[in-house]
């Protein structure tokens, strides 16, 4: 039977398709946009719409190999197929048709694998039993719901399989292991776990692993400068000859340092790790240019990646959107959501001032019917701004209040309605359900998540869980589609939160708050954040 695969495609990073089989082009394009360009490529597998996409990079020949199949399938040979195809791309790029057919027929002939995968225990169980169908369903459900968690915790099934048949085994990327999401294990432990290097690891490896080798100095005695200067001369020679190649071993220590720097600038630790891993996969095997040093190349690649993540994937010009809505004679609705005390009402007032000062008719809807005093606070803002406030007091369903406010605004021919909501913790199910209802019922044009620029690691779980809760409780799966970072004036050069939140959500930062006054609303400068992170 033919392989249950929708599309296999090999293309250059510049966009030229070198070879392809099957058709699912838009999947590949949206995968490029949402995974590769957002630097989420460290995992080698992702779910796009109703498809699973697996991929490998062949940086030495500037190629990307992608496999697309229906996400209800749990293919176990995806990784192997791609690895073998990759060695074919390297060896005979002109005969991919033939190579693919050979690989495919090999895989077709094989019975469904019952292999001793060197994977975690749960995976083994899954493959031992005959009730494979059930497990597949379970796995498929897991892919959609727990996508993020699975990616971090457990390795991918196809990707980590050992390929014995591979004539010329390609070098495996060292996996970065963590015991929790934050801590990275030490280099010694990584080496211990790295089975790609020692195929037949003996039991007596303990001594060699833990005891220092002859003449090896302890890490605390080691002088970092000295270590650098040793490789400095040789790398200079290589770079002068223009023959240097970036290997995973070489990228790793440089990347670790850069990661530390990102973390020092308040980028959430797990985000820093993921970005660095993803960039590392795009570098392994890459040839360095003449006089290009490894450190510089890695740093440049990381800076470029961070720039891509920070650069909005669409226009963030709210004023223009409101003007377009005005032409359609329909009020533009913005809902402000977020945790307690981050400055939602203040931001809302700033945005109201900004839009009003451009001649737009703005209305405010007080949908924080939960916290006492919220409506009064907003009323004083509205009075100060000279903007109408729509309110229905407390203890009403905020979704209905918002609806009434929008209807009222449409009747009065307003251009824009800004909806204030109660601050809520992402784990408060009752309030999250309410918010999801508000968003589903009113279909706002923009859902802005307001967060503090001060947040560190906790901010990321806040925003991801917030987003997930919204999606889970709403039938339309509507999520946050823009971010506001407040208190940006208090963070000096610790701008890491900007990277963390954009990476975690994939959404652009629409506004930043830089002070108390209504006029203290600005847009983010990607250049400034880059300078703060890397200079």
């Amino acid at each position: 039977m033919p392989l249950p695969v929708e599309q296999v495609v090999v293309f250059r990073k510049g966009g030229k398709v070198l070879w392809s089989r099957g058709k699912a082009k838009d999947v590949v394009n949206s995968w490029i946009g949402s995974v590769l360009l957002e630097e989420k490529g460290g995992d080698l597998r992702a779910t796009i719409e109703s498809y699973t996409v697996e991929w490998r990079l062949a940086n030495d020949v500037d190629s990307v190999l992608v496999l697309v199949y229906n996400k209800s399938m749990e293919l176990d040979f995806g990784g192997e197929l791609l690895e073998r195809l990759r060695s074919a791309v390297r060896k005979q790029p002109r005969e991919l048709d033939k190579s693919y057919d050979r690989i495919a027929s090999d895989l077709e002939a094989r019975p469904r694998r019952v292999a001793p995968a060197p994977a975690p225990a749960r995976r083994e169980e899954e493959e031992e039993g005959e009730g494979e169908e059930e497990d597949e369903e379970e796995a498929a459900a897991e892919v959609s719901v727990e996508e993020k968690l699975r990616r971090r915790g457990v390795g991918t099934k196809g990707g980590r399989r050992k390929k014995k048949e591979d004539e010329k085994p390609t070098k495996k990327q060292p996996k970065v292991w963590r015991d929790t999401i934050h801590k990275r294990t030490s280099a010694a432990q990584v080496a211990e776990l790295d089975y790609s290097k020692k195929e037949e690891a003996s039991d007596a490896s303990m001594a060699t692993t833990y005891l220092p080798a002859d003449g090896e100095r302890a890490a605390w005695e080691e002088d970092e400068e000295e270590k650098k200067s040793g490789s400095w001369l040789s790398s200079l020679m290589e770079s002068a000859a223009g023959t240097a190649t970036l290997t995973a071993d070489r990228v790793e220590p440089i990347m670790a340092q850069l990661r530390e720097r990102l973390v020092a600038k308040n980028v959430a630790a797990e985000i820093a790790t993921e970005v660095c891993e993803s960039v590392a996969t795009t570098l392994a095997g890459k040839k360095l240019g003449r006089f290009e040093r490894a450190r510089g190349a890695v740093k440049d690649a990381l800076a470029a990646a961070v720039e891509r993540v920070l650069t909005p994937k669409r226009s963030t010009d709210v004023l223009r959107e409101v003007l377009a809505a005005k032409e359609r004679q329909k009020p533009y609705v913005i809902v402000f959501v977020g945790i307690n005390g981050v400055g939602k009402s203040t931001t809302l007032s700033k945005v109201a001032y900004y839009l009003k000062s451009h001649g737009l008719d703005v209305g405010i809807a007080a949908c924080d019917t939960f916290r006492s005093g919220a409506v009064e606070q907003l009323r004083s803002h509205a009075k100060c701004l000279g903007v109408d406030l729509f309110e229905r007091g407390y203890l009403k369903d905020p979704a209905q209040v918002a609806k009434a406010a929008i209807d009222d605004a449409a009747k009065k021919k307003r251009d824009c309605v800004l909806v204030d909501t109660a601050g809520r913790m992402q784990n408060n199910d009752k309030l999250m359900r309410e918010l999801a209802k508000l968003v589903t019922l009113n279909e706002p044009d923009l859902v802005l998540f307001v967060g503090e620029a001060l947040v560190g690691n906790d901010g990321i779980s806040q925003i991801t869980l917030f987003n997930r809760a919204l999606a889970n409780f709403s039938p339309t799966k509507r999520q946050i589609d823009g971010l506001v970072l407040t208190k940006f004036d208090c963070i000096d050069d610790k701008v890491g939160a900007a990277l963390s939140v954009t990476y975690a959500t994939g959404q652009p930062i629409v506004f930043i708050g830089v002070g108390q006054k209504y006029t203290h609303l600005k847009k983010l400068s990607v250049t400034q954040v880059l300078n703060a992170l890397f200079s």
């Binding site: 293309f11 990073k13 510049g14 966009g15 891509r308 451009h358």
Partner: protein, 232 residues
């Protein structure tokens, strides 16, 4: 001793030359080129390969730019994805001519991103001494839904008119308050028009990059002129 002076001088010169050589090699200046821009899916990469290698190929979204030669002119295909927009300024700085593509058959989706891009380009050219000429290709005329160049021009004009009000309304955080705002496109209080307010000549050309003969485009890339009578 008498030769010490000259030896020192020689040494000094040698060091200087090496330093300059290393510096020059490390920071390669971008050579002048004709630059292809446009929103995602407009057909840039196909046009690039047709022009440089005379080859039809399938394409996916570009993740990095492509560099090639058309005759003795360097051609750069700059990716259209928003996330890669950061590198646009460097490309515009080295552009001798600019070819911009839009998908005329999908103007409903392309008008806004295309206008944004064009607005960025024209604003950047506002202060240039010799702004490069622009060829605006209304691609995919083979499709039934393709808009005429006149229509494309009008749609872009309307969008740019809006952008003139909104694009710089919100200050960026690194703008100093006393720093000058970016040069205003067009004339204050007047509706924007390509013919009157564009800092550089823009020629609209309807073509199907997939099917048609590309000699007008080729001519523009090489000479900066379009041989066929432009419809503007």
């Amino acid at each position: 001793m008498w030769w010490w002076g000259s030896l020192l001088l020689l040494l000094f010169v040698a060091v200087l030359v090496t330093a300059v050589a290393i510096f020059a090699l490390r920071t390669p200046r971008r050579p002048a080129a004709v630059v292809l821009i446009g929103p995602c899916g407009a057909g840039k990469t196909l046009l690039f390969y047709r022009l440089t290698e005379d080859e039809h190929c399938d394409t996916v979204s570009s993740m990095q730019s492509n560099q090639g030669q058309v005759g003795d002119v360097a051609l750069v295909d700059f990716p259209g994805h928003y996330r890669l927009r950061g590198g646009l300024k460097d490309e515009l700085d080295r552009a001798t001519k600019l070819v911009m593509l839009v998908d005329a058959a999908a103007m409903a989706a392309q008008a806004k991103p295309a206008a944004e891009l064009l607005f960025q380009v024209l604003t950047a050219f506002q202060n240039a001494k010799r702004p490069p000429p622009v060829l605006l290709i209304c691609n995919k005329t083979d499709k039934a839904t393709a808009k005429t160049p006149q229509r494309v021009k009008l749609m872009l004009m309307n969008e740019i008119e809006t952008l003139r009000k909104t694009a710089h309304a919100l200050r960026s955080i690194d703008d100093d308050d006393d720093k000058q705002q970016p040069a205003q496109l067009g004339v204050e209080g007047r509706v924007f028009s390509f013919d009157q307010h564009s800092p550089c000549p823009i020629t609209f050309l309807p073509i199907s990059v997939k099917n048609d003969d590309l000699s007008p485009v080729r001519a523009f890339v090489q000479t900066g002129l379009v041989s066929t009578t432009p419809s503007s």
